[in-house]
């Protein structure tokens, strides 16, 4: 899947998909193809970021994303540092700004940040010199999730343009939804968002999507379903009456799919799954589920992102890549 893409990566930070062009997204996906191949080697490692230090600053719980970024960094031979703020001086009242500048004083190159507050990575990028990668900022964006999602779609279905993608769940509180909406619309997919009215934010159609509260409508004709987790921990006042009612109105199970969806509709989920809530067990583990592929692709996509940001000052990004692909590490 090589491309005649002549776009160069020039951005110092990856804060969101909103400010990426379709060409920049394709550039990341194309690099990810190469890195996925690296991951399949007996020694899945390349030296391209040797000497670089990457800090994972996760101020919110995470299984997938944090491990994925850490592995990605290590596969690129970078040094990694994990900062889990639950056990840090955050508890002593140290501000985000001070924490970041202190870490930076130890000479780090990149900070991968996950935070509960929208705009936290933007804020960080304004007070440190390192590159900042947004690993999820509140309900705002989760760019690498959207990138691995479109990578998976492109890999499995050959394209993104013209596909019908339905994102179902708690749209209002979902950074996965927002980043996916940007990525999918920029690449030419037709996006439908679906959920209870109280979980669909106002004026979302202006982002270029169709909104519906009827799950049957969202399933009809869809090529891909991206299922979102109901975010119980983000709701202070319950926005729907009960899980039971949510499952009845919006839960996806095989009977519903049989009746209203294409047989081969691709099932995606960013994880973690609330089994039996947004997805039934059999659908989650079924034939058309690519949920675990998403996780595998996540490491490759994050390697691509770290690589591109790590070499952003260098002119010869293309040359670097070619050289790296030739020199496979072998045990002496």
């Amino acid at each position: 899947m090589s491309t005649k893409n002549t776009v160069k990566w020039t951005k110092k930070h990856l804060l969101g998909i909103e400010d990426l062009s379709a060409e920049e997204i394709q550039l990341i996906l194309d690099h990810a193809v190469g890195f996925k191949e690296v991951l399949e080697r007996p020694i899945p490692k390349v030296p391209t970021l040797r000497g670089k230090t990457i800090v994972n600053m996760f101020c919110e719980p995470s299984t997938r994303t944090r491990s994925s970024f850490e592995l990605a960094a290590k596969r690129l031979s970078a040094d990694t540092l994990n900062l889990a703020t639950a056990s840090s001086s955050f508890l002593k009242g140290e501000t985000l700004k001070d924490t970041a500048r202190n870490i930076e004083a130890m000479k780090v190159d990149m900070i991968v940040m996950r935070h509960a507050c929208p705009g936290a990575p933007h804020f960080l990028s304004g007070c440190v010199g390192a590159s900042v990668i947004n690993a999820g900022d509140g309900a705002h964006e989760h760019p690498t999730q959207a990138l691995l999602d479109v990578f998976t779609i492109r890999e499995k279905l050959g394209k993104v343009k013209g596909l019908k993608v339905s994102i179902i769940g708690d749209i209002a509180h979902s950074r996965v939804a927002r980043s996916n909406i940007w990525a999918l619309t920029k690449l030419g997919a037709k996006v439908t968002v679906c959920g209870p009215k109280t979980l669909i934010p106002v004026e979302i159609e202006k982002m270029g999507v169709r909104a519906t509260y009827d799950v049957k409508e969202a399933l009809s004709g869809a090529d891909v379903l991206n299922m979102l987790r109901i975010q119980l921990e983000r709701q202070k006042r319950p926005l729907f009456p009960s899980i039971r009612e949510y499952v009845r109105e919006f839960g996806i199970n095989s009977r519903l799919l049989e009746k209203h969806a294409k047989k081969e509709v691709m099932i995606m989920h960013p994880g973690p799954i609330n089994r039996g809530v947004e997805l039934s067990q059999d659908v989650a583990d079924g034939e058309y589920s690519v949920i675990l592929n998403q996780v595998t692709n996540g490491v490759a996509v994050r390697m691509a992102v770290l690589f591109l940001l790590g070499h952003v000052k260098k002119e010869q990004v293309g040359e670097q890549h070619k050289k790296m692909m030739k020199n496979k590490l072998t045990i002496p």
Binding site: F123, A139, E141, R178, P201, M207
Partner: protein, 427 residues
Amino acid sequence: MKILIKNGRIIDPSQGIDKTGDILVENGKIAQAGGSIKDKNAKTILAKDKIVAPGFVDMHTHLREPGREEVETIETALSAAVSGGFTTVSAMPNTEPPCDSQAHVKFLLERAAEVKLANILPVGTITKNREGLEMSEMGELRQAGCLAVSDDGDPVADPGLMRIAMEYASMVDLLVISHCEDKALSAEGVMHEGYWSTVLGLKPIPAEAESTIVERDIRLAGLAGARLHIAHVSTAESVEIIKNAKKEGVKVTAEVTPHHFTLSDEALKTFDTNMKVSPPLRSAKDVQALKEGIRDGTIDVIATDHAPHLANEKEKEFDYAPFGMIGLETALPLAVMKLVDEGYLDWPGLIRKLSTRPSEILKYNRGSLEKGAPADIVIIDPAKEWIYTRDRIRSRSSNSPFIGWRMKSAVTDVIVGGKIVLKTAGM
């Protein structure tokens, strides 16, 4: 001391005057205004090509003294005020402790007299300790010198209490200034609910959080026979409600801040916490409605809602930063650029919004240049262009999103009580 202001364009809407002439100030009062005046013993201020107007009266200022002097003191706030052309500021009572006693009112008046810059009009609380439970001793507050009461920062959530408080306030002829917000609707919101809150993923505050309480307070004011003033109107819906209420004869007036008629919610896409304000910056449609409301008189007053915060308080994640921005020093140029230059107001109309109407609404004996009036005067160079930089800021805090902006129109001289408190040699 005598001061003679020569050849300025005298704009005094209280007398329907807009004419070039001279003004003589003597013994703290306007001795003569208009025509050509000669006085060899007077200190002369040359005001050719400048506007001479009654000093601005801000109906909405947050002094942080007493309680948070590191953020702003009375001295630094009044210094900022005069630099912006304000000769009186209405001190909102959400200080620590809040202004709900005659001792506190007297403290503010004494401090203003010590600092000798602008006047302070203390605003008392509607409820004791600003807790929203019981009425404050409004009779005492009136006697001590308050012309208005407010629980600003918060609404009076209990409508039963608001009704009673309005009745009582009207008995002692106090203006009730209401911060209209239903906290159950604004909940944990940090920005206007619209396309931009959807894109940014920040928790939203619907327009209805304001308009429902504007409606409520107008109805209650009608029932209580009170004079009501709506603070910091931000939505098109509120403007509409106020317009209709005025038609029905309800005694309601309203103010808009410069940041609300200058910026819309799209500006928050940079996550700049200096734009985090309550009520929030609204949509472009709302901004347009505010400007129309200013044009047609539905909105009576431009008030700053000057709200200082320290850098370390504001330099945080957007969700955690406090609400508010400073505004005394930028109100005039923003009004000139966004209202006068865009045709919503002419200069007399602007002076009406900044000086005349605030004084009328507060029943405050300022906002006029008639003979015998206290000499609170502002002299403005309407065409002066300058850049608002951090080092120019006289407020102790610099939480303003307008730093770096090109500004048009500058205050050059200010006289308070017949004394010159601001004289800029050149910029």
